[in-house]
């Protein structure tokens, strides 16, 4: 099957049953792979009554059709389930080398169900698949050491290990999966889902000599990917990413007022420039790292005085533990990021929760007694203390472990929690890039910048996936259709699963997909794969209880800054949302795709299903 190994590995941890499941070619053509195909495969299983931390919640790890090839930055894989954080559709994708290795072992993906009676890990060595005990790993704090121990046990130095930390074992709803040199599937709590199954890790090694993916037109593909990689490697954006990492744009985003500070309440922080990727390059940077076959190399290696070389923080971690807490100490930020990685916690959510705690402390709504000490802006040691409290679920840590909204509610200040549908907001402020207002409000997994990085259109002016048209970064309803288009294309990238940093011309992407799969899509047919999946995920969420009332923004993001590059500005959100619904073909009253929209996308059965849902009056995870 061109572009695919053509089968999933399925593992039921309750019964120990291990099987393979063939993939249907027609389904692949409609959804390609990644989170799009995951939505189609999981659709029947994701019901409103399904407990995200119960054994029935399916955990699906899935590649795309280019994974394992040397195509431009296509080595990522996706992890999907019902989210314990949001109660909605969950997806989180991850780089490194694990995904391609799973393909080299002969599987496009891995579907895990059930719950092991005792802690276990899965060892996949080509056709040999084994559930192994993990008592000795459970409670192991360091996700890196977990990888090393499993590799040693397997006797395969090059085995790739995807594992959870104590955060996942403790079922923290923002715990993550980590592999390789600190590549993570961070958002929506996939670590907790894996932990709920008593599954510590999945380790995989393909057999030697079988490390090729079948391609429809291999020579054409190789010619195309060589050209695409050369162009990508030499592009300005790639050069910036290689030299300064994902936080290379920090000064720029700060200048534009797009980087939030002091937990989304301030537009200025004098120390922001001291914690950027450029500052990192001038101070502690010791090397770079890559994912499989990637020519960009955005990963950072840093060396702190007296410590071993290790992973350097990326943009979200820097902003979350830096300007959001008014911390300007890059070494301290690096250590906080590493602590979260070791424990298996998502740095975006964890730093959001801590930022809210600092804010509430400054307002007298959290006391030093319950926080184990003062929470002063600019003090990174207090953040470290809160991470430990969270892991132990000790005192206030029990509340922190439930997320920002829970903390806000605990302090009778729920409206101060900056989240959408219980997923804490990433650090790209819609007060500077209005497109992000729609992105956060309508993302199928809660407030997320990886369903559409529209700030790259609004501010970085990359219109490759947005109609080639530049609009005012602060424009309103007139932007809605372009945001929807960008989401469609980014859903295609999340199907491939291709890194957003690889800004490859659409025509090239189309040619690569067609040469790999032989599907010979037109450009619009390829885009429609994205639109179809976007609407299917919406329908999944509708079935889980989501309505138009969920398409909201937190109060802070609709409150103008007094100073900074976006001072005085807020997105015209109600008008934008209505225009977006019109562009999408969604019903204003119910928040669901209309029957006509679903029929146009070949989703007639889904239209029948959601027509049977009684009108909802609102939704909360609790």
């Amino acid at each position: 099957m061109n572009g695919y190994q053509g089968r999933l590995l399925t593992v039921d941890l309750t019964t120990g049953r291990i099987e393979t499941l063939p993939l249907d070619l027609a389904l692949l053509r409609r959804y390609l792979g990644g989170s799009a195909l995951s939505a189609a495969l999981l659709y029947p299983r994701l019901t409103r009554g399904l407990d995200p931390l119960g054994p029935e919640n399916p955990l699906l790890i899935l590649n795309g059709p280019l994974s394992g090839t040397a195509g431009p930055s296509v080595g990522r894989f996706t992890v999907c389930a019902k989210s314990p954080a949001t109660g909605l559709w969950a997806e989180s994708n991850c780089g490194g080398f694990f995904g391609p290795e799973l393909r080299f072992a002969g599987y496009d993906g891995l579907l895990i169900t059930g719950k092991a009676p005792t802690p276990a890990y899965l060892w996949i060595h080509h056709d040999h698949v084994e559930i192994r005990p993990a008592h000795h790993l459970w409670g192991q704090a360091d996700t890196y050491l977990t990888q090393e121990k499993i590799r040693a046990e397997a006797g395969e130095k090059l085995a790739r290990v995807l594992c959870i930390g104590v955060g996942g074992e403790s079922l923290i709803p923002y715990s993550l999966l980590l592999c390789d040199h600190g590549r993570v599937a961070g958002r929506t709590g996939m670590g907790a889902v894996m932990g709920s199954k008593h599954l510590k890790a999945v380790a995989v090694r393909g057999a030697p000599g079988e490390r090729k993916i079948p391609l429809a037109r291999e020579a054409e593909f190789n010619r195309l990917r060589s050209g695409a990689n050369l162009e990508l490697r030499n592009s300005t954006t790639s050069t910036v990413l290689r030299e300064t990492g994902s936080s290379g744009g920090a000064e720029f985003f700060d200048f534009m007022g797009e980087m939030p500070k002091r937990y989304f309440t301030s537009g200025v922080f004098e120390g922001a420039g001291r914690v950027s990727g450029a500052s990192m390059a001038e101070t502690i940077l010791s090397g770079v790292s890559t994912c499989h076959a990637c020519v960009i190399a955005c990963g950072r290696k840093v060396k702190l005085p007296g410590e071993a070389e290790g992973k350097g923080p990326e943009y979200e971690t820097i902003v979350g533990f830096g300007p959001q807490l008014l911390v300007d100490d890059l070494a301290a930020i690096t250590r906080l990021g590493r602590l979260c990685d070791a424990y298996g916690l998502d740095t975006i959510s964890m730093s959001n929760v801590i930022g809210l705690a600092y804010l509430l402390y400054s307002e007298g709504k959290v006391t030093a007694a319950e926080a184990g000490g003062p929470l002063e802006w600019g003090d990174p040691s207090a953040a470290e203390r809160l991470i430990h409290l969270t892991l132990r679920r000790e005192g206030l840590g029990e509340i922190l472990a439930q997320g920002a909204r829970a903390l806000g509610r605990h302090c009778r200040a729920e409206e101060e929690a900056v989240q959408v549908n219980n997923l804490e907001v990433a650090y790209h402020d819609p007060r500077a890039s209005s497109g992000m207002a729609l992105v956060y409000a309508t993302s199928p997994r809660g407030a997320c910048h990886n369903q559409s990085d529209y700030f790259m259109v609004d501010l970085w002016k990359d219109t490759n996936y947005a109609n080639g048209e530049l609009q005012d970064p602060r424009a309103g309803a007139e932007k809605a259709a372009n945001v929807a288009l960008h989401q469609d294309w980014r859903t295609v990238h999340n199907a491939l699963v291709q890194c957003f940093f690889a800004s490859v011309p659409l025509a090239t992407t189309l040619s690569l997909v067609n040469a790999a799969t032989g599907f010979d899509y037109s450009l619009d047919e390829l885009r429609e794969v994205g639109e179809r999946a976007w609407n299917l995920k919406r329908a999944i969420n509708n079935r889980l209880g989501l309505t138009r009332a969920n398409d909201t923004l937190p109060k802070a993001l609709l409150t103008p800054y007094a100073e900074g590059g976006s001072a005085g500005l807020v997105p015209d959100f109600p008008a934008m949302l209505s225009a977006y619904y019109a562009a999408r073909g969604w019903d204003e009253a119910t928040g669901r795709p209309t029957r006509a929209t679903l029929l146009r996308l070949g989703l007639g059965d889904v239209a029948d299903d959601i027509s049977k849902i009684p009108p909802q009056t609102g939704w909360r995870t609790d």
Binding site: T236, A250, G277, A278, L470
Partner: protein
Amino acid sequence: MATPFPSDVWIKALKDRLNNSAAYAQAAKNWEGDLYFQVDYADRAPALLYVDLWHGQCRDAYAVAGTETAQKAAFRLSATMENFSKVLKSELDPIQAMVTGKIRVQGNMVMMMKNIPAVLEFVRTAQQIETEFLV
């Protein structure tokens, strides 16, 4: 009267404007580095303009007679006349021009990313020159 681009008189006009701009002096207070504008042609050798920028001031500016004698500079911005003219006429966003490769940037990207406000103010100052584009 319009000033021809690329030319010695144009780059010296830019020097004067930069040195009289409080906004540029503030935005570029940390900038250290000289640069070439390289205008690429299909049918002849490129034209080079040199500016030496230092902490918000332009210390030197001149048109280079030939590429052979050009000294090494911290940055080189290369583009066709069409793309330079679009940026200088505000028809093409300078960030977009760099991101899309319509203006190619060679040099220290760490320095560039730390000083994006200086880059934008530099372009804004250049756009204020009434320019005649030589073909």
